[in-house]
């Protein structure tokens, strides 16, 4: 390895889905374009296996990387290993999901966050649904993995929208981010509450499962919103089967964070606070 090129360790939650895959590709393209650093990326086999991300960070420290750019698997469990990295003189940038403020304070570290506001995004898409349904619209939430930080944020955002749009929340259940489970769980919710008017799905994979369940039940009157803007939902948005989703520009997120990291490594000023990245509501009108 050329000693003059700084090494950046990119730690992501998973490489096994579209969202993080886009993110990695964005980072790789960025790496090729800049050409002045070396990129090492790791993912986890299972999004709840926090330990393997801790292991990954420890391995980065052993390899002596110059910067670690991390989308934490858990906002608290990652604090200790990242502190260890910082103590070893490694620049750490936190993106995608913010580390927990309290945990950071307890550990005595100060770390900026580069990333989107999940809760705001969820609120945005929830409000789009509220606007469509009008006050008193009956909705259900399909949650992400219980215990996952972004799932919790998105649920809060949905609940914000329910409150501000004066919607009626009939039920809220997890489908563990999965299409097939969302399909089953939602079919069953629909049986229990035939009067559902709108569905807030915490990611697009689950939204796809919900849309299929509506197709199967022949219900065209129910509106669905998702999150992430994965390529597979483009046709659904165009057909009007999906009302809206949120784009967090994942492909640029990692690249941006790496830029920030390299600035610090090159002697730039320390980052502080929350450097918010773009989020955008995607509907029929602006889908690509």
């Amino acid at each position: 390895a050329a000693a003059d090129k700084p090494v950046v360790g990119l730690a992501m939650k998973s490489l096994a889905n579209d969202f993080f895959k886009n993110m990695l590709e964005g980072a790789e393209a960025h790496n090729k374009k800049r050409g002045d650093y070396e990129l090492k990326a790791i993912g986890m086999q299972n999004e709840t296996d926090f330990e393997s991300q801790v292991n990954g960070v420890e391995n980065f420290i052993t390899q002596g990387v110059d910067a670690i750019v991390i989308a934490p698997a858990d906002s608290r469990a990652m604090v200790a290993p990242l502190k260890k990295a910082m103590d070893a003189g490694i620049t750490v940038i936190n993106f995608d999901v913010s580390l927990d403020e309290q945990a950071k304070k307890d550990a005595g570290i100060d770390l900026a966050f580069v990333g989107p506001d999940n809760r705001l995004g969820a609120k945005m898409v929830g409000e789009a649904l509220a606007k469509d349904l009008g006050e008193g619209g009956k909705v259900v939430i399909i949650e992400g993995n219980p215990g996952a930080d972004n799932a919790a944020q998105r649920k809060l955002g949905f609940e914000d929208a329910v409150a501000s749009g004066k919607l009626e929340l009939l039920d809220s259940r997890t489908a563990h981010w999965e299409t097939e489970e969302a399909n089953s769980v939602f079919s069953n919710m629909l049986t229990a509450h035939p009067d559902i008017q709108g569905v807030l799905a915490a990611n697009d994979s689950m939204a796809i499962g919900v849309v299929k369940a509506l197709d199967a039940a022949g219900r065209k009157d129910i509106k669905v919103v998702g999150f992430d803007n994965v390529p597979a939902v483009a046709p659904l948005l165009k057909d009007g089967k999906l009302l809206a989703t949120v784009d967090q520009f994942g492909s640029q997120m990692a690249a941006n964070a790496i830029d920030k990291a390299l600035e610090v490594v090159a002697g730039g000023p320390k980052l502080e606070g929350w450097i918010k990245t773009d989020i955008e509501l995607v509907t029929k009108d602006n889908v690509k």
């Binding site: 096994a16 219980p146 299409t179 089953s184 069953n188 994979s205 796809i208």
Partner: protein
């Protein structure tokens, strides 16, 4: 047993025959009773359970698990286990999905080719599982645990972790087609159950699978090659995973390399709740059908019942155990 005649006397046999078949019926009946209890409970306690729409929902929802569980029945009957079905499902789906989205093919061509490709993928994985475990005499638990990782890695590698979508519309429609209120995909699964039942109970091949599960050495010494039958059981399981993957795609219109995680445990649960012995040699595919129904009814009923997600999970665990306890209890009673 008193009169010592050396041919089975007809009178005593005739007396015993109805009793025997009663017992055979009762064998599956234990599970059937558990299922009926569940259905009765949810019918009384929830409003929509017996609604025809809900019934067809349930049938759709158990289809994939049922098909996987049929294959698992073959494997468990010979005393094996297959932990890799979930991963193989993903691999079959991405292979099938890739074929399905080849441009410039007529829909029927694309569907036929995709089905063939998915089944071929499943067959290859099954052959690998069966051959490695039979040839080296390794426990299938560990071989299929390896395959679980291999097939998942391969599915991610060939798709580069991307979801495949945009399947032909007629194909997608097929996934939610109904005949007299019964989902077509469930009818396919039912046909597979019937076929498996026939193979297992009426053919020489099935007889030997049971034999191997009971006493492998006796079957070997009676002049049969164990290898063929073991490999065949895993291969059948693989082929069924291929079929399940096509149905998965028709239902959800996507093929993703991360689908099917944990499906193996559901399939195994269906088989065991259905009364098949994990050590092999005993069980029926009808039991498996009932087992899959129990799991499906439970998942559906508990949501209608309005239980929280976490309570639902706990109760699912309790019912899995209760179902086998009921089965055991009935066995004790009828045996005594």
């Amino acid at each position: 047993m008193h009169a010592i005649d050396n041919t089975p006397s007809n009178d005593s046999r005739d007396k015993q025959m109805p009793k025997m078949s009663m017992k055979l019926v009762l064998r599956d009946a234990g599970i059937g009773i558990a299922l009926l209890l569940l259905i009765a409970f949810f019918s009384l306690s929830t409003q929509h359970f017996l609604n025809p729409n809900n019934i067809s929902n349930i049938l759709t929802q158990i289809t994939i698990n049922l098909i996987l569980a049929i294959g698992m029945t073959f494997v468990i009957l010979i005393g094996g286990i297959d932990l890799s079905v979930g991963s193989i499902l993903a691999l079959c789906a991405v292979v099938g999905g890739t074929v399905l989205t080849i441009p410039d093919l007529a829909v029927w061509q694309a569907v036929c080719l995709a089905t063939l490709a998915a089944m071929a993928t499943g067959v290859v994985c099954g052959l690998f599982n069966g051959w490695i475990s039979a040839f080296w005499g390794l426990p299938s638990f560990i071989v299929t645990l390896g395959m679980l990782n291999i097939a998942r890695g391969a599915a991610l590698q060939v798709t580069d972790a991307r979801t495949i979508y945009s399947f032909p519309q007629t194909f997608n429609d097929f996934g939610s087609k109904m005949v007299f209120g019964v989902p077509v995909v469930f009818l396919i699964a039912l046909a597979l159950v019937a076929l498996a039942w026939f193979v297992l109970s009426k053919t020489v091949f099935g007889r030997l699978l049971y034999g191997i599960g009971n006493n492998e050495e006796a079957v070997r010494l009676a002049g049969h090659s164990l290898m063929i039958y073991k490999v065949a059981a895993f291969t059948i399981a693989g082929a069924l995973v291929g079929i399940a993957s096509i149905i998965y795609m028709a239902r959800l219109n996507i093929a993703s390399p991360i689908i099917g995680i944990g499906f193996e445990l559901n399939a195994i649960a269906a088989v065991i709740i259905g009364g098949t012995s994990l050590s092999g040699g005993r069980g029926t595919v009808i039991g498996t059908l009932l087992g899959a129904c129990i799991i499906g009814v439970l998942a559906n009923g508990l949501i209608l019942f309005g239980l929280s997600d976490f309570m639902r999970q706990m109760i699912t665990g309790v019912v899995i155990i209760l179902a086998v306890i009921i089965d055991k209890y009935r066995e004790r009673i009828t045996a005594g």
